[in-house]
Amino acid sequence: MRLRLTVCVISALAMSPGLAAAQSGSVTMAGTVLTAIAITGSDLRFGNVMTSQAKSVAPAAGGRFDITLAANAPVSVAYTLPSSLGPQVGVGGWVALYNTVNDPASAQTVPLSGASGTFNTASATGQMYFWLGATVTTSNAAPGSYSAPITFTLTYN
């Protein structure tokens, strides 16, 4: 937002040839280039399930995202969680944990709101760890392998 306002000022000066010829002015443009965000994900594996069964995997034993970013930089985290892995294979009851060190035992619970959402956070260490657990529920599901993506998108605020 700060950069865009600056551009508007410059454009106003440029579109007035008279002003450009007779006057001079200056504005200060400032930008901060932050460390690129790096994310690696590991799968949430339910393993083998029956054709009709509910099976839960706790976050500490579930999927994980490891994130490296600029320390103390506020970011927004957008997530998308699947509600189904296929016909008669539902997934829900998502639980997410967050920590700035690789320790799910001392992690805090992330308040998830539905299958997708956004929350803001920051990390003093420049590291973020998210653990994800859920429950898969099969209901007369056909034998086979099922999967669906979980996506996390981080944006510097």
Binding site: L3, F46, L85, I150, T151
Partner: protein, 163 residues
């Protein structure tokens, strides 16, 4: 010589470079997958743990390998979680039952089976790699305390799910 047009273009290019690409580079996404494998249904067949006849006040124990039997059939070579629900009486408060014992084997031989402590908590056992079978034997102790004559029974419930 002043070239205002050129100067203006240069400024705008710098401004645009700072304003636009930064927002794109500052966003990063990561993907992991949620995975599950649905396996064919598990079948179980059971035969009763029979204490036979006893007196109104007695303690009678049946060893697991001589007790009730469950045969489990599922996907060969896969681990299953086994748990039990046991009765505390055979339907009368003076006919108590408990002290459960167990044995398990992937072949139907009780003689070569391995003891285990049957529990309401899941325990993992492998199904036979060839035929997908698992055999479980359950024993227990019957305690009668001035029990009235009669025939008594109660169910033992076995629950098996894929690990």
């Amino acid at each position: 010589m002043i070239l205002p047009g050129l100067r203006t273009r240069t400024v705008l290019l710098i401004a645009a470079a700072l304003a636009c690409p930064g927002g794109v580079e500052a966003q990063t996404g990561g993907t992991a997958f949620t995975k599950a494998t649905v396996l064919p249904a598990i079948a179980t067949i059971g035969s009763a743990l029979d204490f036979g006849t006893t007196t109104p006040t007695a303690v009678k124990t049946i060893a697991a390998t001589a007790g009730g039997t469950f045969r489990v059939t599922g996907t060969p070579g896969v681990l299953v979680d086994v748990s039990f629900t046991f009765p505390t009486t055979l339907g009368h408060p003076l006919v108590a039952v408990g002290s459960w014992t167990g044995a398990q084997n992937s072949s139907p031989s009780a003689a070569t089976s391995t003891p285990f402590s049957p529990s309401t908590s899941p325990q993992s056992f492998p199904l036979n790699a060839s035929n997908g079978r698992l055999y479980l034997w359950i024993g227990g102790t019957l305690i009668t305390s001035a029990a009235p004559a009669g025939t008594y029974s109660a169910p033992i419930v076995l629950t098996v799910v894929y690990n």
